[in-house]
């Protein structure tokens, strides 16, 4: 099935490429199992494009982040093609809502998603440094580490975000590749199980949890850089001296403040794509902080980010009569 979908993607990209500036998609990385972003400008590159459960990256950040593509392109500029999964498409919606992109600026190749692999999880079962090949057979991940062939159920090694995913199919797209996927979750309750599990613990335990998690943070800002909606770039308040919110001191208070400022700046904007957590080299569940805020947004304000291009995020408007804030 993957093969058929890949061929369809190649065919559709080939047809569209002459009208496009480029197509951003996933390609095989050098280590034989992970994918890497590829920027297809030439028909010869099309064969590099791939899809499937290894394509974990949310590519939409490349549309607004450096090496920046102009948010306001020059007149007559060709649109950019981009491959998106369900979760990635919500980032596009949010970026369009906030006018960082126009809908016409992008040609969207929508790819229904059955979950992406979290290699950190696989790494706990397999020595990733010796992997010869990794393939997917139906719902089984087959990894050959040159000694044994491991057969791992895909469902056991998916990214954390995938288990509560309500939108596996792109919400905004020009073409679809393959059959629609079935959502793993259909309700608020089943989408925020990790948040609920943590919330059920007493305050001290929660504090301990976050202290031990965030203590590992090295403030590399990979989470921030990976987030497609963290659009401040080199103006980020975290590194600003004027105003000076944070010093460069390495301490838990500074790490807390950084992560909570990051989360607050995404309140009502975060689409839960999980890029921050995927990018974290220290394996900190940083998306969980945003998930908590997302849950509050849904429960209190009935708002979920990245679903509707026309909607106004509740914290990006001012209504004096609002009784919920």
């Amino acid at each position: 099935m993957l093969e058929t979908d890949r061929n369809q993607l190649h065919k559709l990209v080939e047809e569209a490429l002459p009208e496009l500036d480029m197509v951003i998609g996933w390609g095989q990385s050098t280590d034989s199992f992970q994918t890497t972003p590829v920027f297809v400008r030439d028909a010869k590159q099309i064969s590099q494009l791939t899809l499937g459960p290894f394509c974990s990256q949310n590519l939409t950040g490349y549309l607004v982040k450096p090496p920046a593509l102009d948010a306001a392109p020059k007149e007559g500029a060709k649109p950019i093609g981009i491959c998106v999964k369900g979760c990635d498409s919500r980032s596009l919606v949010a970026l369009i809502q906030e006018k960082f992109l126009t809908r016409e600026r992008v040609r969207i190749f929508g790819i229904p998603c059955r979950g992406t692999v979290d290699w950190n999880k696989v790494g706990k079962l397999v020595d990733l440094s010796n992997v010869k090949s990794a393939t997917v057979e139906e719902d089984v991940l087959v990894v050959d580490d040159s000694q044994t062939t491991h057969r791992i159920k895909l469902e056991e090694v998916l990214a954390r975000k995938c288990y509560g995913c309500r939108y596996p199919n792109p919400l905004i797209q020009d073409v679809t590749i393959g059959e629609p996927a079935t959502p793993r979750s259909t309700s608020i309750e089943s989408s925020y199980r990790d948040v609920d599990r943590l919330d059920a613990k007493p305050l001290e335990e929660r504090l301990d949890f976050w202290q031990s998690e965030l203590d590992r943070c090295i403030r590399c800002y990979a989470c921030r850089n990976a987030c497609p909606l963290c659009v401040c770039q080199d103006k980020c308040i975290i590194e600003s001296r004027e105003p000076r919110w944070l010093t460069q001191r390495v301490g838990i208070p500074e790490k807390f403040l950084f992560h909570f400022i990051h989360a607050m700046h995404l309140a009502g904007r975060c689409t839960g794509c999980g890029e921050c957590e995927r990018a974290c080299p220290m394996d900190i569940p940083v998306t969980l902080i945003k998930e908590k805020l997302n849950k509050i947004m849904e429960e209190r304000l009935g708002y979920s980010a990245g679903l509707d291009v026309e909607a106004v995020p509740p914290l990006l408007t001012f209504n004096p009569g609002d009784t919920e804030i």
Partner: protein
Amino acid sequence: MRIGVFVCSCGTNIAGTVDTKRVASEALSFADVVYATNYMYTCSEPGQQEIQKAITEHGLQGVVVAACSPRMHEPTFRRAVEKAGLNRYMFEMANIREHVSWIGTDKEANTRKALDLVRMAVAKLRFNAPLFSSKAPVNKRLLVIGGGVAGIQAALDCAEGGMDVVMVERKQYIGGKMAKLDKTFPTIDCSSCILGPKMVDVSQNEKITLYAASQIESINGYIGNFTVDIRKKATYVNWDACTGCGACVEKCPSKKAEDYFNEGLGQARAINIPFPQAIPKKAAIDAQFCRQLNGKKCGVCAKICPVKAIDFEMKDTIVTEKVGAIIVATGYDLFDYSVYGEYGGGRYPDVISGIQYERILSASGPFGGHIRRPSDGREPKDIVFISCVGSRDASVGRPYCSGICCMYIAKQAILTKDHMPESNSYVFYMDIRSPGKNYDEFVRRAQEEYGVQYIRGRVGKIYQRGDRMVVQGADTLLGVQVEVEADLVVLATGVESSSGAGELAEKLRISYDQYGFYMESHPKLRPVETNTAGVYLAGACQGPKDIPSSVAQGSAAASKVQSLFAHDTIETNPQVALVNERNCIACGKCIQVCPFGAIQWKELRGGIKKAEVLQTVCQGCGVCNATCPPKAIQLQHATDNQILAEVNELCA
């Protein structure tokens, strides 16, 4: 920075529960503090001179006064430091009275808290920078919202002073509640005889532009320069042509329209001029009842109208007016008597409200000034008045006294006796509140000369017996239950805030209390000002009020406007948002959230976009600053660095 700290004892107000001497001496150890002292009354003239002397002698560059709320005396001290050569924004105030001495009695704890507040003020001051006002021109036109007696008085006073006035009235006519009254207490002079000429003055004064049947759509701008959009509601009659001849009203076949002016006691035509002295005397169609507008064949009015003023296609229109000041005189509404189910208001036709009785008494009312029962048109003999219906009753959410009911009941009882010498009037009351000039004498006259029977006690129940009403209540002075059979019961419905008061307040950006009455700036010393500069209050929109007080407030608000308009320019407030263009990422979120439309795009060379604050429109609320992710937009005098400095001190 060289900082001086002045700790006020405020007599014993602060010194009673705060060790002000210790606060001063410990403040000397704070960073940059080179001088600190304690004074009995820092706001007094010698107190201010003390500050000025210290500025010169110790070369102070910034001053902290630890005293009362900045609400009252911050301007005082700013002026004082300015006179001594400092910029007025190199001053900070720590509130150790309302926030400390008045709320706790533990002197040790209070002193610690006072020290914390002073430490925070010093920390903030270290990040202060001189700020400078600019000047903005004053548009010397006034907007009066509401055409009741308070608004009329304000408009006439200002027009008299040569100012252009725009009056907006939501109803089809001006005059407000007073226009519905028959006589007024305590002089029993005819309401329309004293109000009528003022209404005529409004319509004839060239300085006054009247928009009746109109509402405020939106208000933007600031003191001296407001832009107001007014929605002129479709009346389906071209008022420029209408002469008020009334031919259309006479011929209108739809005779079952709601008679709002007569409080539902009669029925009006779908096209109507509410009362003979109405200003403006123009007809308007009630779309709900008009046959033509409801798809039936009619158009009688259009055929009969001699000047062809009827326009069934008319739509609401928006007109824009620019003004420099606004007087809000939107008045009040009356409590819904049906809330008290036990009184049967709304269920029994002969249980009516005070304002309905007022219409019955009026010669222009539904019965031509003859007292009749609504049920059968019979003249009543026994009439019971019940006071405090929706006043002084926390159980219906109206714990306040409406202030006017005791008086209007006495008036109505006197008038009843005048109309029908054989009648008997009874008044059930809780207390009699008559604290006005000649008011108490008036109530006594009702009791002594007119034989009105006052029964002190609450009514428990009203029910029908035959064609009469039985009023059951307690006489708490005699300690007995009483039962009075009456032909007519008048419920003295209390005052509540005008419908839509809250929405208008949001548009005006003025505050209102839990009952919807607008908040004055200071309950004693700034009674007609609001906390939004350039917006003033008059009449019952601020709280229940009788006619003399409403008129007095109308004149008071007018005098405030006149003193504002005596200047050609006003100083703008420099405590507004400012964009640091270097940090602005042009995300536009500030533009999206600004409640005042004070931020716009600015294009730099090369088409680079940045946000820009319109200094004169910005109200300094700080929503943009809270929203801006890289904090490129900063509220002057409350910058992130200043607030962080305070927080750091508090957490240190």
